[in-house]
Symmetry: C2
Subunit: 257 residues, 2 copies
């Protein structure tokens, strides 16, 4: 029997430590195919490249592993991995390990998680992994353990079709991790600000910045809360954005004709 084919991508780029940590954590679990962006693609959400062409080329980066570098977004990388760079359909798609957490509504902005959601759209078991440390030199030791454990479970037991997992790991040593919680996406939001600067020619430009905060009472059963309390969080994530409970309400509100 063939080893499972595992397609790997990320949003920090092919040379990020989080990607090599992910590869390290799962290299014994299957045959790996890495298709990663050629530069950082954080915050790209579910963007795809439609107005310009893509380049994608093999690079010699991890020993004995097929690696492609792609000019597109994380979702482009998944599509290239599925439809162009390999004959065999992957059994599993892994994305990350992201440098920085992706809890709560960050699932929408996150290239890491959008790659996993794209996998779910394709009917392929998918997991996005993130560590709550933005540093390019973050310590992924504990994350690697968690990645191996969770990936093994998914390979052995599967995932419900149409869902993927959003896994966040706290930035603490393994023995300080209190456990793993399966939970819901928290209600937390960005309070954005723009830092206005003036360029040498006297023209304004703006950097997006801001702070992320929860609007929920604590304790609660969200990923935000558990991650803050040093649990690894797993949110089963799907792609139906319908607010089913308000369909009837809107009908009563006179929207139908």
């Amino acid at each position: 029997m063939n080893k499972p084919l595992i397609l790997i991508t990320n949003d920090d780029g092919y040379n990020a430590l989080g990607l090599s940590s992910l590869v390290e954590a799962v290299k014994d679990l299957g045959e790996l195919l890495v298709v990663a962006p050629d530069r950082p693609q954080s915050g790209m959400g579910h963007a795809i490249t439609v107005n310009e062409p893509l380049r994608c080329y093999p690079i010699d980066f991890f020993e004995n592993i097929k690696v492609f570098c792609c000019t597109g977004t994380p979702v482009d990388c998944v599509k290239m991995g599925l439809y162009q760079l390999n004959d065999r359909k992957p059994d599993l798609i892994l994305s990350g390990i992201n440098h920085g957490s992706n809890v709560s509504t960050n699932v929408l902005y996150s290239g890491t998680m959008s790659a996993a959601v794209e996998g779910a759209l394709e009917g392929i078991k998918s997991i996005g992994f993130s560590l709550t440390n933005y540093s390019s030199e973050a310590d992924f030791t504990a994350s690697r353990e968690m990645v191996t454990k969770i990936t093994k479970n998914v390979l052995e037991n599967g995932l419900k079709e149409g869902t993927c997992l959003n896994v966040n790991v706290p930035d603490v040593p393994l023995n300080k991790i209190k456990g793993i919680k399966v939970c819901r996406q928290g209600r937390a939001f960005w309070d954005d600000t723009f830092e206005k600067r003036v360029d040498p020619l006297g023209k304004d430009y703006f950097w997006l910045t801001g702070s992320f905060g929860s609007s929920e009472n604590k304790p609660n059963d969200s990923d935000v809360f558990y991650l803050e309390n040093n649990y690894v969080t797993i949110v089963p994530t799907q792609f139906d954005m319908t607010c089913h409970s308000t369909i009837e309400e809107l009908k009563k509100q006179g929207f139908e004709l």
Copy 2:
């Protein structure tokens, strides 16, 4: 009393016919603030610009309306409109009218809809509008009528917090529109292909293409089905991507520790 402030954006760029059609349709319903991308941003999903700065400058484009052109994505435009370009918080965010439909899972890829979802995240009533015609010279006559009607209802009666509306209009004359249906996001997916070409230097490049198809039996109660049958569709859309029904299942599957 102040007129309601309506923030308007799109993903086809400030000079798209769909944007001027949207402005035309709602200009009597409030004070308008337009913040639109300086170039086409289709397929940008919920992308935000974090790795480079943004430029945003006023332009003289619609008579008596404040218009800004922005180098970022549709979601960047919403954030700029909320946090930088105006002191007053908008009462309503409208996005579109998109040249091309955004039914079903296209809500994830769509810059138009991501701008509306961003509005919902900010607790502001928001609507994304799309017409099933990709042409830059599409006829927005019927769409304008629908935009006015639906926007008036939302201004008068509100929307449930945390939801926005995904409105799609069929590309037929007004008298051929059968009605308006409030419904769910359909289960339809892209079957992607990449068209491989060779540049003048002999190097490969790829264009993303593909076909969009539903995996559901017909008739059904999805936006895909109703739109095909010449109904305007309204899907209440929210941003909780948790698959709540599988949380307990995953706990049983041994993911927790």
